[in-house]
Amino acid sequence: MSERPEVAVAGGATTRFGVRAATWSELVQEAGRRLFEAIPELRAEEVDSLFVGAAEPERFAFQSHVAPLAAELLGLKPRRILQRTELACASGQSAIRSAYAAIAAGLSDVAVALGVEKMNLPSMAEANTSMACVMDRPWDGAHGATAPPFFAMVAQRHMREFGTTEEALAAVSEKNHRFANSNPDAQFHAKSFSREKLRGLPLVAPPLRLGDCSSMTDGAAAVLVVRGDLARKYTSNPAWIRGTGQYSDWHNLANAGDLTDWVGLRQAGREAFRSAGIGPADLDFAELHDCFSISEIVAGEALGFCPAGQGGAYALDGKSSLGGEIVVNPRGGLLGCGHPLGATGIAQAVEVYRQFAAEVPPERQVPDPEWALVHNLSGSANVHSLMVYQRGG
């Protein structure tokens, strides 16, 4: 058996994230235009495969069979693999992982992974309904289980077991909003959120306040994923995919177990670090799935950034900020950028590419980064998906 080819992300782009006066299709087109602008050497006919990360287009845009629609909108005629990937909040990363798997298996050479979600509707109750059917709908969703009350219970248990404070939650949110101020595509770009202001915002699901929760966001993002020997045709700064990990161990909330110990993420982390041949201490930065402030805290613990229970202190002490230990969410995170479900995992990969290429403003540039981790959880943190990237030398 021949050696598996290396795979790289060779560039990418996002739309502006926010409450957009744009349809699902218009967001796809905007991401595509920006992708081709970002990679001038890319010609549409070179793209043999397209993976479309879209969590709930049937709900949010009343549109199914979206992969060929996206191909048409991008001017692509995929001849090897065309598919949609759906894994709720991790749908975007699923698109990249699928492109990576296809290229590593020799089934594709040049692929686009695009993620998109249009979430703001005239009736936000309908949008909330869509979010609640991510859970086990007739058993948990029927009780009103959307993400905020679930992650609120995670925060409540973390506070009880480890003494984590509302100030620690605010420290995570303040940091990510601060980073978002250097990201013009972020939903909360140019908006100031001090810890004091965050702690005065209304409760959404106690103890979580508005600033602890990522938003309902419209947006799209796309990356070019290519066989390693083709990467230099498109970029001088390829971001090499060096490892992945994923774990799914339950779905109904009855099987959640200990809310503050994300066993599935520890499992996925071991596999991601093993496959990349590194450990957490080797990371220069990480894009963690901060759908809620508490998520970044618990995820950092499960990934070994700090001991169990110390995730709050990690943020309060500035260890997740520039100048600290592992910079977390320099893009601005889901809290600062917004969370268009299918687009988030792709936008995180775009940030990794840009950080490696030193294309981001100095306010969020991690100094000379070599290793980066991207984490997406989905649903009620019952699935964890990870990718490890290394800067091209």
């Binding site: 309904t129 409540q156 209304p202």
Partner: protein
């Protein structure tokens, strides 16, 4: 642990079933099936309709695998461990304690907006390895506490269906929470 009751495979056919109540001028507009969270409870649509019949009769039940003894939640038609359908209905305890709770103060889905604010939580049922999620009635979220006692009860939905919810016990001197 409650004793085994009627095996699922031999559960008697259900004949008398409350139908959806006719709409009255004061009824809210019905929610289309695919925007409605609650299970279709009718045996025309599900093989576990007995769960809802039991609930109407005051029993809180689920399925247990007769081969490996595994208690399955929610009620299943196949055991996910041994992949057999040799299941039986068993009654669950109708009492437990709150492991974690929160409340929906904003962002409620369709059909739940008028209930805001409402409390939800994960409850450890007494004596069985089940921690179930559900709405908590009886006391506002500000008066709930981890460890507080709750009962499980049937809750009649406006259209004639039924679902379970938790009910927090009234405050009493010396009671935890």
């Amino acid at each position: 642990m409650a004793p085994p009751t009627t095996p699922a495979a031999e559960a008697p056919a259900v004949t008398a079933r409350p139908r959806a109540a006719p709409a009255t001028p004061s009824s809210p507009a019905p929610i289309p099936t695919l925007l409605d969270f609650h299970p279709l409870e009718d045996p025309r649509f599900t093989e576990i309709a007995a769960f809802f019949d039991h609930l109407r009769a005051g029993r809180f039940s689920t399925t247990r695998c007769r081969r490996d003894g595994r208690l399955l939640w929610p009620p299943r038609t196949v055991c996910p461990e041994c992949h057999r359908s040799e299941l039986e209905w068993v009654d669950l305890p109708r009492h437990g304690r709150i492991y974690a709770f929160s409340a929906v103060l904003a962002g409620a889905p369709l059909g739940m907006e008028e209930a805001v604010p409402f409390a939800v939580g994960l409850v450890d049922l007494d004596g069985v390895p089940l921690r179930l999620f559900g709405r908590i009635e009886g006391r506002p979220w500000t008066e709930l506490a981890i460890g507080a006692e709750v009962n499980v009860e049937g809750f009649d939905l406006p259209d004639g269906r039924i679902f379970y919810r938790f009910r927090a016990r009234p405050a009493s001197p010396g009671a935890p929470g």
